[in-house]
């Protein structure tokens, strides 16, 4: 699932874990880091059925409801945070992961998109409203 999230897509500035440098040991190193927080949000695209837009809004909702100063409090650089972004939308393949990743203001991250969220067709049958769910696991390398 994670490997699938890292294929293709133009590299965003924060995209440190691309297909070439993501080895099993690298993954293990990240998983060995400790969870500091989980941030949760929801985003929609009301008329456009744009899954990327809904995902970006969900991530922004998750991040900007919180001000994380745990890295600072522990004397660790803010940019050492590693964010595992999980997005749920009805059509995961239509999400531009680079656009989602570009939302992250600090540190590095990965984006995994799974089938989820919600889609409600309008009564006329001409379009739909899309809901995306976002979860962000924030990890730090603490002893």
């Amino acid at each position: 699932m994670r490997a699938a999230a890292q294929q293709g897509d133009a590299p965003a500035p924060l995209w440190h874990h691309n297909a070439t440098n993501t080895t099993a040991t690298h993954e293990e190193a990240i998983m060995a880091m400790k969870r500091m927080a989980i941030e949760i949000g929801m985003g929609t695209d009301i008329r456009g059925a744009d899954y990327t837009k809904a995902a970006v809004r969900a991530l922004r909702d998750a991040l900007w409801h919180n001000s994380l100063s745990v890295a600072n409090a522990l004397g660790i650089p803010t940019d050492s945070m590693v964010c595992e972004v999980l997005i749920g939308v009805p059509k995961p393949d239509l999400v531009d992961k680079a656009a989602v990743l570009a939302v992250l203001p600090h540190g590095t991250g990965t984006v995994t998109v799974v089938e989820g969220g919600l889609e409600i067709a309008n009564d006329a049958g001409t379009g739909s409203t899309v809901i995306a769910n976002a979860g962000v696991i924030v990890r730090l390398d603490v002893a």
């Binding site: 400790k34 969870r35 927080a37 949760i40 409801h65 100063s69």
Partner: protein
């Protein structure tokens, strides 16, 4: 050791009919709390009863908020509640049924080395 802020959680809540500022404040606190999970408490082996939780509520009529009810709604830590003028009231045309909006900020602090 010094008290350091680890996270500031923010939320908003409203009472659309009834102008109940306490209800709006309670919803704002719930919104603030449920956009994050404080995983570091377990990861760092911290004692959640030593967590300092400072709640600030903003509503247009601060004296109408039941601070004890807000305090009781926080699940963990040593809680203090402060209510200031803020939030937003959306007046109703004619009838006395304003929609009231509360903002909540929950600062979590720990004594860290």
């Amino acid at each position: 050791m010094a008290l350091k802020r680890v996270i500031l959680e923010m939320g908003t809540g409203n009472d659309l009919h009834g102008s109940d500022y306490t209800k709006a404040a309670l919803r704002a606190v719930q919104d603030a709390l449920h956009h994050s999970s404080l995983a570091f408490v377990r990861s760092l082996g911290l004692d959640s009863s030593k967590m300092q939780v400072e709640v600030t509520i903003g509503v247009q009529q601060p004296d109408k908020v039941d601070r004890a009810a807000v305090k009781a709604s926080l699940p963990r830590g040593q809680v203090t509640v402060k209510v200031v003028k803020g939030g937003l009231d959306i007046p109703d045309e004619g009838a006395h049924d304003a929609a009231v909006i509360a903002s909540a900020a929950v600062a979590v602090r720990y004594d860290l080395p």
